[in-house]
């Protein structure tokens, strides 16, 4: 698999405080990578290191295969766009003027693509209105437009959806999906709004105390969080035969427990099992959300 970003044992210390404590992660090309963690666990610090705003105390990261200790890392950042915490925009300028500034910084000679960029983020009708008078959602979208100015193929969005109203969240979500699907942009998005991340991310990284607790693809996570009915029975063999006959998907957990991934007709199943002298001892519906998964993961980690 090709990775846009890899980090290995990355550490960042502020005085005696370890913001990052040997973090290793891999962001696959073409993915929407959701970086999940509580406030203060090191998400923004990690992003600051990648963007060059701060330097790592120890460890390495590779951006498009270029190591952070190499001089070429500065140039490799030309391929990324980022919105770190708050959008970086001149408040006393219009959306168009803000983009013109960024075009100049990037050395893009023509402003001809600015209208398209403004349209892409839904700010084409803002005219001469100053960014100071924009709503938070509009500012966030302008921040994304600026991040997209250099046609990056890796977009880093830090806590972008925090503080947005539901409509704003939907707009940003659609924009991120559009950028990923239509423009093939890899996205690293950090947030603690798990429900929102679960809707868009293709990969997840769970971070706690400056360390990566687990990296998992959305596919694997869905399998783990799949809605199922957990049955505890007296005779596993009988149950397996019945479920196979009915064509249900299931997974045997132990000699008494089984997860069935289907909508069951409980009454007929219990009756049928009873006829074959198999008692149903317990039935439990399980529907683990990303939130539950995260809580179990982080909680479990803390208890270790």
């Amino acid at each position: 698999m090709e990775y846009v970003l890899k980090t290995k044992d990355l550490k960042k210390t502020y005085g005696n405080y370890n913001a990052l404590n040997g973090l290793s992660m891999n962001v696959p090309k073409g993915s929407i990578y959701g970086l999940i963690g509580r406030n203060g666990v090191g998400k923004t610090t990690l992003i600051r290191l990648i963007c060059g705003l701060q330097k790592a105390t120890e460890g390495d990261f590779w951006l498009y295969g270029i190591n952070n200790h190499s001089k070429e890392i500065v140039r490799s950042r030309k391929r990324i766009g980022a919105v770190v915490e708050t959008p970086s925009i001149y408040l006393d300028m219009s959306a168009e003027d803000n983009l013109k500034q960024q075009y100049r910084i990037l050395g893009i000679p023509s402003y001809s693509t600015i209208p398209d960029l403004l349209k892409l983020v839904g700010l084409e009708n803002t005219g001469k209105k100053k960014a100071r008078n924009f709503s938070l959602g509009m500012r966030q979208r302008l921040g994304i437009a600026i991040a997209l100015s250099g046609s990056p193929d890796f977009l880093i969005l830090d806590e972008l959806i925090n503080g947005l109203d539901p409509q704003g969240i939907i707009e940003i979500r659609e924009l991120i999906l559009k950028l990923n699907h239509e423009h093939d942009i890899t996205v690293l998005i950090s947030s603690h709004i798990l429900d929102e991340l679960s809707r868009i991310a293709t990969h997840f990284g769970f971070i706690d105390n400056g360390q990566m607790i687990q990296e998992i693809s959305a596919l694997e996570l869905n399998k783990k969080c799949r809605k199922c009915v957990k049955l505890t029975v007296s005779n596993m063999e009988v149950l397996c035969n019945v479920l196979t006959e009915k064509g249900y998907d299931y997974s045997v957990i132990s000699d008494k427990e089984i997860d069935v991934f289907a909508k069951l007709d409980i009454t007929s199943l219990v009756v049928e099992l009873a006829k074959k002298e198999c008692n149903v001892l317990n039935i439990q519906e399980q529907d683990e959300s990303l939130e539950n998964y995260y809580i179990n993961l982080i909680g479990g980690n803390r208890n270790e």
């Binding site: 705003l53 140039r75 950042r77 030309k78 990324i80 770190v84 970086s88 100049r104 910084i105 050395g107």
Partner: protein, 255 residues
């Protein structure tokens, strides 16, 4: 670095504060000779163009402090300095381009005032009575002091991430430098120092010429006897402040 400078110039041209400062400098360059001309006609006062030209030496430090702290501080307050780094510019390039824009913009403010007052003053007051070499030297050192002020203020703003505190520090530093220079000058002119040859007097004399504010106060009296020292000290301060600024900015954790 050309891209960064180009972006800074674009912002400068759209900056209301800069146009206001430029307007203020040009307007004062118009008003001063007109008022002098009126007094000369009404009361018969004997003014020279030199005495009217040096007036702005007192405010250069403050004008540069206001401009630099506001213009560069906005990059921190609006977070736009991040765009410059993420766009793949090294911190050295960012610092140097910030310094250059402050230097150019500040020099334009000072030169605009000088051109206006010299042009109008020659007509309304009288041509310069001092020789052209001395006048050129005075103007040259004034511009060099302006560049030094820009260098000091750029350092303060670039190593401090807070626009409000940068503005206050820049103004306080300017005020402090002027205060020290006024004090030093008053001590040097006092009767105690007149015939002294002590090391204390040498220190005062050094401070009098070392600080750009002291240099400007000396230039008000059209004294250019230590022009070489003034030029060297300006360059020295500029190099030290820029070197320190770059070193700190390179290591700074930006938010």
């Amino acid at each position: 670095m050309n891209n960064l400078l180009s972006a800074y110039f674009q912002r400068l041209l759209k900056s209301r504060l800069y146009w206001c400062l430029l307007g203020l400098m040009i307007l004062s360059g118009i008003i001063i000779p007109i008022l002098a001309h009126r007094e000369m006609i009404t009361y018969g006062t004997d003014y020279t163009l030199e005495s009217r030209l040096v007036w702005h030496f007192l405010i250069i430090g403050f004008i540069v402090a206001v401009f630099c702290s506001w213009f560069l501080g906005t990059d921190y307050s609006d977070g736009t300095i991040r765009n410059k780094i993420i766009a793949g510019n090294s911190r050295l390039k960012i610092y140097i381009s910030a310094l250059l824009i402050c230097v150019i913009a500040s020099v334009i403010l000072v030169v605009a005032h000088q051109i206006t007052i010299i042009g109008l003053g020659t007509w309304l007051i009288a041509p310069f009575k001092t020789d052209i070499h001395t006048i050129s030297l005075i103007i040259g050192i004034t511009i060099l002091a302006t560049i030094t002020f820009a260098g000091i203020n750029t350092m303060i703003v670039m190593i401090n991430q807070n626009k409000a505190s940068s503005s206050i520090i820049c103004l306080v530093v300017s005020l402090l430098m002027f205060g020290i220079s006024f004090y030093v000058l008053s001590v040097l002119f006092s009767s105690d120092m007149a015939h002294s040859d002590s090391i204390v007097k040498q220190i005062y004399e050094f401070l009098n010429i070392f600080l750009p504010t002291g240099q400007l106060l000396n230039l008000i009296n059209l004294q250019v006897t230590q022009a070489t020292e003034m030029i060297i000290y300006n360059i020295l301060i500029l190099v030290i402040s820029t070197g320190t600024g770059i070193m700190v900015f390179e290591q700074k954790n930006l938010k």
